[in-house]
Symmetry: C2
Subunit: 139 residues, 2 copies
Amino acid sequence: MIKNQMRMTHQRDIILRELRKSTAHPTADELYERIKKELPRISLATVYRNLEILSTAGLIKKLEISGRRKRFDGELRRHHHVYCLLCHRVDNIDLGQEENFQFLPAEAGGYRITGCRIEFFGICPDCKKKTQGDKKDGL
Amino acid sequence: MIKNQMRMTHQRDIILRELRKSTAHPTADELYERIKKELPRISLATVYRNLEILSTAGLIKKLEISGRRKRFDGELRRHHHVYCLLCHRVDNIDLGQEENFQFLPAEAGGYRITGCRIEFFGICPDCKKKTQGDKKDGL
DNA sequence: CTTAGTGCAAACTGTTTGCAGAGGG
DNA sequence: CCCTCTGCAAACAGTTTGCACTAAG
């Protein structure tokens, strides 16, 4: 399995920059929409391909998170996320001193555990505002 | 929002039973394949529709978990999962005394947090066996 | 009887892939 | 100049939906 050369193309570079410049955890097509302003002829397939390549190369992270679309993160340090049940946005969350707590299961059912993901969900500040006064049920 | 009548059809009942009888967290089409043996004329759309209805009614749980297919769980009590990175199966995991630990973030970024999901990943017993002796890289 | 639920096929959403040509190193 | 990458379109996987018929209560 010889590691082949990864070229830093203009498209790839812009995708990487765009991803690093916010903490918004965009989906492939959110990224595509933003990048089109700068590079109008880029195709969605290129965005998908590069996100895959960049995450395999370890330059970005692919998030396994609620919702049906994949999300990507330019921040490589270990951290966790909050997911808004209403608008589906994803933010970072600070776990304080718990951050380094090694949360390991008593009984792993024979699994070799390689990692753990902690995800919070709830209502984001904007959606809280929008539903202020409403009686939203089921949440 | 008047709750309409949910009829317990033969299909729905079998789906519910099937889901309750194992801890395998099946996807819609795994369930479909199993149920077809008993009910050969059932359609995949019916399985999807019923899983949606049953989870809205709170009789089963829809899992937000790694992988691209939705998974469903007949166990309603709070528990967490392990995901096999190789074969994608999902098992329950026992967190021991940590189970009731209220893992709440120091700084929720203005979110109203309604819940938290903890997911482990790794290699399941079967895949461990299969890769025994191999030098698998990247895990 | 009424109206929720069914099977089927077709639509839809998010993602991946084959191909011929472009451009990074 | 080679070979990775690109844009495009078409394929794909998983899920949802419109419709006319069926069956639960």
